[in-house]
């Protein structure tokens, strides 16, 4: 596989962030409307924050400032892609600040080291890390500000700080007198930033753990929220790019005469990834692009097909590979009886509702982009390399993301936009058509896993093996390397660490590389591995003639958090109690991203093989909760995303070409198919876990297990091949 870009090792998030150019901001007022409730900030001071803070503002750190009217502005370095981070990060700060929640607003940060994700050491959003990584630092930022406000009030009143407390945007003295935070701004700004702060005992939380309205809802219901695709710059051209229909293919020659004849087409440019038509607007650019006559050299993958890919994985899994984990010795086990099964999952596209796009401007002063990106920090380094300028000369404006799911962590679309803007000598908005987006690779890896299990005479499982074959996502990422043991962490996550206790166990990883660029997709390796493992565990339960819930429960004796969510989901779903005729249950449990999730799916199968999902009961333990409503919605969101993958999702290749394009060939679950979904959140005082992804893995196996309960047929492939369920 060719790595198509270089992540600079040190992403050099320099603090070169000037105050926003006001004229630029005016250009972002489009359609005669000002920006909505959320101002996308182009204006946060980077270094010398205190010096640059506007007069009359208290800004103790990069993450918040308080104005004289008491308004608290939280600057969020994480990208809002629907997961609610523009609400939950402000909640962490507001809790420790004792802010009045109704006076809190949020703005998007520029690129600055201050906003590096502590888990990634770069400014990026993904891996369900936002709350896990910022739980402490954001609370500390709020607590520091609070302590300076208390010091300011104490100084004003000439009383000891110990006589003051805070509540809802005010410092209150023991005598009953109070000062609003807004009135303390000037004095607070003169206080020393405390070296250490004391955080609240969670029992004292007023905001955290309680539902709060999202701060980004208002602009998202009146059409004023600005996504990357909504950016408009003066003199801007819209580009639609013809990319090789086969991965890694190259342009041999092209004829642009027909494209150039389309009214509104201004330029036709070749870049390494293809040929772009640049026009006054999308429609002309798209028409022109479709009229390009390009001769491609398809390259080495010209005959790539899904059947050869599948065979490659199956052969590799059969051979086995690097040892990922072993307990006991499976080779010496004398099983009374055993079972074996092969599971397979396809490539998947992320298919965000907002097609990929990026607007770029390249001038003598440097590079500026506007994009929905999950990786603005590394993008700064990458784009500086692409444009041949210093990283400090690259300014990234993070817009709202019309979905991310990992796809917008990749920098490919920003690179092409910068190359086009540089070549065009004008600002360029590169827009993917839906078909372009579906065919733009960076897919969830396909793969095969082969399992076997052995039982003793009493029917107890005594051996478990899994041979995993898939490409290496670590290598594909460009910023990680396959470890010395040869085991890709993402390929085996959820399989290597499967939670059940077996006296003899062996997990192997056999790398196979068909050559398709793969990427992080919602819940990453767990997205297929939970389906494989939890379906096979169900097969083991059936082989042991045991109830699938009780079978799991017994093997989870040493995994209390798995067991607790399993119990909660089972009891909330009335496991074991009768259901309406034809409706059957399936259960699955999976840990991912620091959270534990169990799901019970109720489904029925019609005579023609049609699967209907009636109800999903989900139990989640994600540690301390920030905003339970967002947690419930993220579970539901991931379940529906997983349902599309379970029932429909597949990217297939024929003659090197992706066979899917628009939503007719890559369908999505729609409102009429959606089941009732109930989410139960465990009370927990553990460190927070992720919530954006962990709801997904358990769904497909719980559905497959329900289908098995309904029909006795075990579907071992994703998407579930429901045509096998047809009754003659």
């Amino acid at each position: 596989m060719t790595t198509i870009f270089n992540w600079s090792s040190e992403t050099e998030c320099t603090a070169e962030v000037a105050l926003g150019n006001p004229s630029r901001r005016d250009f972002l007022k489009v359609g005669g409307m000002a920006l909505g409730g959320l101002t996308l900030a182009f204006a946060l001071p980077g270094t010398n924050r205190l010096a640059q803070a506007a007069v009359g503002t208290f800004q103790p750190n990069a993450y918040l400032r308080i104005a004289t009217d008491g308004q608290v502005t939280v600057t969020c370095g994480l990208s809002e892609m629907g997961q609610g981070v523009h609400t939950s990060i402000p909640m962490l700060i507001a809790e420790e600040l004792d802010a009045d929640w109704s006076s809190v607003r949020v703005e998007q940060a520029p690129v600055d080291k201050a906003f590096n994700n502590p888990y990634f050491k770069m400014q990026a959003t993904g891996g369900s890390t936002s709350i896990r990584a910022h739980w402490q630092p954001m609370r500390e930022a709020g607590a520091a500000a609070r302590s300076m406000l208390v010091a300011a009030a104490a100084q004003t009143w000439k009383v000891p700080v110990s006589e003051c407390r805070t509540e809802s945007g005010q410092v209150i003295h023991g005598s009953g007198k109070s000062l609003a935070y807004g009135d303390l701004v000037t004095t607070a700004a003169k206080q020393d930033v405390p070296a250490k702060v004391v955080l609240k005992d969670p029992a004292q939380f007023r905001l955290l753990g309680r539902d709060q309205h999202r701060l980004d809802t208002p602009p998202k219901v009146d059409g004023s929220a600005k996504y990357g695709l909504d950016v408009r710059l003066p003199g801007m051209l819209t580009a639609v790019l013809a990319r090789s229909p086969v991965p890694g293919g190259k342009v041999v020659s092209f004829d642009a005469s027909k494209a150039k004849a389309v009214p509104g087409v201004r330029q036709v440019l070749q870049i390494p990834n293809g040929v772009a038509v640049l026009a006054d607007g999308y429609w002309a650019a798209r028409k022109g692009r479709d009229l390009l006559d390009i001769k491609w050299d398809a390259g080495p993958l010209a005959s790539l097909s899904s059947s050869t890919i599948s065979k490659m994985f199956t052969d590799a899994a059969s051979k086995g590979g690097a040892l990922a984990r072993a307990n006991g010795d499976v080779s010496t086990v004398k099983a009374n009886h055993s079972i074996a099964a092969t599971y397979e999952a396809p490539y998947l596209s992320h298919s965000c509702m907002e097609p990929l796009n990026c607007t770029a401007s390249v001038t003598a002063d440097g590079v500026e982009i506007w994009a929905g990106t999950q990786s603005q920090g590394p993008a700064q380094g990458i784009l500086s390399h692409v444009a041949g300028v210093a990283p400090g000369k690259v300014k990234i404006n993070t817009m709202y993301l019309g979905g991310g799911y990992g796809r917008r962590f990749a920098p490919d679309f920003t690179i092409d936009a910068v190359l086009l803007a540089k070549a065009a000598g004008k600002p360029v908005k590169l827009v993917y058509t839906r078909e372009d987006d579906t065919r733009a690779y960076f897919y969830r890896p396909a793969g095969v896993t082969q399992f076997s299990a052995g039982f003793d005479q009493a029917g107890e499982p005594i051996a478990f093996t899994a041979k995993v074959s898939s490409p290496s996502l670590m290598e594909a990422s460009g910023f990680m390397k396959l470890p010395a043991d040869g085991v890709d962490n993402f390929a085996v996550e959820g399989t290597r660490d499967q939670p059940y206790e077996f006296p003899n166990l062996r997990i192997e990883y056999a790398r196979a590389e068909p050559g398709v660029q793969i990427w992080f997709w919602r819940s990453v390796g767990h997205s297929q591995n939970a389906f494989f493992v939890e379906s096979f565990i169900d097969e083991m339960a059936a082989a042991a003639k045991a109830d699938p819930y009780q079978f799991r429960r017994k093997l989870l004796d040493k995994e209390p958090r798995h067991r607790a969510v399993l119990d909660l989901a089972a009891s909330a779903a009335d496991w074991g109690k009768p259901l309406p005729a034809g409706v059957h249950r399936g259960i699955a449990v999976a840990e991912s991203f620091g959270s534990f999730v169990a799901e019970v799916v109720e489904a029925s199968v019609s005579a023609d093989g049609g699967v209907k999902v009636h109800r999903v009961v989900c139990a989640v333990d994600c540690g301390h909760t920030v905003n339970p409503q967002i947690i419930r919605r993220q579970m539901e969101s991931a379940i529906i995303y997983g349902m599309t993958a379970a029932l429909y999702g597949k990217i297939t290749f024929k003659d090197g070409r992706v066979e899917q394009g628009n939503f007719d060939s890559y369908p999505m679950v729609r409102i009429n198919e959606v089941p009732r979904i109930e989410v139960h959140i465990m009370q927990s005082s553990e460190h927070p876990g992720g919530v954006g992804e962990p709801g997904l893995p358990a769904f497909a196996p719980a559905l497959g297990n329900a289908i098995f309960a309904a029909t006795g047929k075990r579907l071992r492939q994703l998407p579930l091949n429901t045509s096998e369920l047809k009754r003659a």
Partner: protein, 155 residues
């Protein structure tokens, strides 16, 4: 040159006659509340009202809209049904990424303008053309019912 009426205002646009209304709105008029999702009438992100009926603006040539009334998300707050729908969307915090929501609100308000007491089947039928990749469907259904209830409450 084509003259269309957008949110009550007559505007003359220079886009070629085959240009879909979506791109006239977004690229020529700078009204970006209406979204592009598929370009093939498969996702509903681009839904606007044409004389009150929900249509997919990505597949409606501007020539076919000449002389007709187009209403977009930008004008929803001034219609009684649109504002009730938006209020319910706010109360229930329906959006996640939000990208599909202009289209969802346009489809929902067209439904409620005709049917003040939609059944689940009515909602399925009216909304099945609108994809939400974030999976906010159950909140959309609840918000439509909430808006219906609030409008009947107001008489």
């Amino acid at each position: 040159m084509t003259t269309i009426t957008v949110n009550g205002k007559a505007v003359t646009v220079t886009a070629t006659p085959d240009t879909p209304v979506l791109w006239v709105l977004r690229d020529e008029l700078g009204m970006t509340g209406t979204k592009f999702g598929c370009g093939m009438a498969l996702c509903g992100a681009c839904t606007v009202h044409l004389n009150g009926e929900p249509v997919r603006s990505c597949s409606l040539p501007v020539s076919a809209a000449a002389g007709h009334k187009i209403t977009t998300i930008e004008a929803m707050s001034v219609t009684p049904v649109g504002s009730a729908v938006q209020a319910s969307w706010l109360a229930l915090d329906v959006p996640q990424c939000g990208y599909c929501q202009s289209g969802q609100i346009m489809s929902a308000s067209a439904l409620l303008a005709k049917n003040r007491t939609p059944s689940d089947g009515d909602i399925d039928q009216a909304m099945a053309g609108n994809i939400c990749r974030c999976g906010t469907y159950n909140q959309i259904r609840a918000a439509i019912k909430d808006a219906a209830a609030s409008m009947s409450g107001r008489g």
